[in-house]
Symmetry: C2
Subunit: 461 residues, 2 copies
Amino acid sequence: MSEADQMIKQVVLSHNDLPTAWYNIVPDLPARVPPSLHPQTLEPLTPDDLLPLLPSGIVEQEFSEQRWIEIPDQVRELYQIWRPSPMYRATRLERALDTPAKIYFKYEGVSPAGSHKPNTAVPQAYYAVRDGVKRLTSETGAGQWGSALSFAGALFGLEVTVYMVRASYNQKPYRKMLMHTWGATVFSSPTDRTEAGRAVLAADPDSPGSIGIAISEAVQDALSRDDTRFALGSISNNVLLHQTVIGLEAKKQLEIFGDYPDVVIGCVGGGSGYAGLSYPFISDMLTGTRTGTRFVAVEPDACPSLTRGTYAYDYPDTASLGPVLPMYTLGHGFMPAPIHAGGLRHHGSSPTMGILVEHGHIRPRSYSQNEVFDAAVRFARTEGFVMAPESAHAIRGAIDEALAAKETGEQRVILTHVSGHGHFDMAAYELFLAGTLEDHVPTSQQIEKALADLPDAKVSA
Amino acid sequence: MSEADQMIKQVVLSHNDLPTAWYNIVPDLPARVPPSLHPQTLEPLTPDDLLPLLPSGIVEQEFSEQRWIEIPDQVRELYQIWRPSPMYRATRLERALDTPAKIYFKYEGVSPAGSHKPNTAVPQAYYAVRDGVKRLTSETGAGQWGSALSFAGALFGLEVTVYMVRASYNQKPYRKMLMHTWGATVFSSPTDRTEAGRAVLAADPDSPGSIGIAISEAVQDALSRDDTRFALGSISNNVLLHQTVIGLEAKKQLEIFGDYPDVVIGCVGGGSGYAGLSYPFISDMLTGTRTGTRFVAVEPDACPSLTRGTYAYDYPDTASLGPVLPMYTLGHGFMPAPIHAGGLRHHGSSPTMGILVEHGHIRPRSYSQNEVFDAAVRFARTEGFVMAPESAHAIRGAIDEALAAKETGEQRVILTHVSGHGHFDMAAYELFLAGTLEDHVPTSQQIEKALADLPDAKVSA
């Protein structure tokens, strides 16, 4: 890009540039994904095991080894409500950091639900309706996923029931109201509506809840009615592949900017947002099309599954109801502190990401709450957007990459994402500005204790 | 547009399509705008009168009779953070209404501050910095304008002090926190920091405040320091002309859709958002390029300046500090009920809009709170976006236009706007969904009483 074009901050694509297929990384991975296991028998899971829980189209994708999966026309039409999403160069942040690096960020806060989550909520609702399903249940941490599913449910005329982690339910009342506006029903989890919830409440009536508990509740609720299925917001491979529209668009947009990333850095809870951004670029590396790009996954100190967890088989939920997955985990009994990046409070992360971390292709890093809010405020005051605390992990990482490039004088090209806006997280910003946002770091004993309870199945090397 | 293209919902423009000049309607109006008057002498206002209060570039534009005013490069660069904004066809709402009408909406909720207000906040901050100003003060109703100015202040390194109407300050705590995140100082108005505020509090310590009171406070604060100027979020012609980027973009986008509006309908408080959308189309009518388009301005029943007010000289603020303006007004002593569309709680509206209403070119209409929230929820559940209560007035109007077209079977093309998102207005949605949102209609006596206090100057016919 010439000097004359330096003032270009944003590249938008038209509806014609919307991807026509999702990218599935499974066939390109450096090793086969170990099979998921049945939660009771610990035998390899079959599609039939999942059909009572998930729409058939989703089950098919979950087991798919096809590289490209066509996006249905109706889903592409609905994607147009917020896609293609904009890509920005953070010129003002670069100047403030006085770095030779270029920072590009893909902005997903433009969706009606405020994050990347509708990228998968809409296809999940689509496949549910195709099967004649009337209702979807789900968990939500910070409320981003629950909002996305409520939005998708409204578009398809589906009932939606959301189990929202109590810590977030109390921190973010507006998120609940947003879901109501789209017609969803929202419960503060743990509830007394499910066996899983009642068991948690019996042990600790003041439990702040966790994504793992909320998943257990939503699964039990879904299994209790024939017309109901469950929708998961992250971790599953079908969710991750839906999210690749982000990275596929980003690639086209970076081409228009005339760049290719030296580092792709993003935030990871279950891993779907970062997979969506990075997998189309990791594909270039795995297939030998490109070399030299680094991939960095950022998580909170308080829930450090990739940096301090173990690569092992574990349940995705607290009550051990979900399929046993090969993943980086802190143990399904791990109870993360009620930090404001509620969307990153899950003890495990996605199986495909586990393989990429295990093989050294993705390198994890973690930050404290204060470190990430500091980055978020700096970003708001230079680039304008006020982001979700989850996204702030990515931006903190990008800032550190840019500062490292300044040390060496390197013209590093950094690609990152702002996975959602922070309009429902203002109370946390206010605490940070007042200097009263607490940091939480789990003790090694806490993690060891949770890991002691892993299911009796080893991931083969 | 062919049947094959029917699935196109959104037209995005690239940075190359950003307007290079703002449109000033003044030279094209059917009558000269009567001069604004000095608040004490009631003599025609001169540029020198305004220089202690406003940046010189803004004063120049306020008196300009040039049709096109070039947008400075730095402002265009910053506009790229959220502009060109998207234009949608509300296909799903059309289907739900079963109408032959086409509904297009320009969406301004993509800006970091969440509304169209940064379109003028950024140039106002730009011209302030050009004069060496260090601080800007302003009023805000719902908080949209205060947020926009705080955002612009952060981009330019300007201090920002916002007087936020108490009713909104209490209804929308997150708005205040958003302004803090951009580094602004926010006070609940009326305050005891200014003479104007103290006078109101002395008469009524529980005053919910009003935009008129907050303007008085911000003006007094600005005049108290040499390094400080005042920034107004609506009403002034310079503000309205900045907003025409909306309509200029909309015209290009409608061309791509292959349409021209039969009706342009929007919400009006001070009038800047609707002027921004409509003036480039009204220009076509005034200059004879196009005929047959109707222009409809929608306001709340609770603050009906265009539908029930008088066209007269009046002060823009409660304490009679601002320039006396020829406008539709309910009287500067009118105290609107604390409705949730706080941005529409001003007793008057813009002088140029006054002329257009007086000449029958713009027709006003009003709705109750429940009518507009009903439209907003219907929109959220079809088109996805959750909008500000202000914007819901526009959408309610657009829905009624579409339903009228259904009666007659007419293929009417409706252009409207969603001037901002409703992420900070969720409490009002929750009240509406619970059926406990109150409606407010002022009595004729209330309006008569306020109008009795007009300044002693007549608008010549």
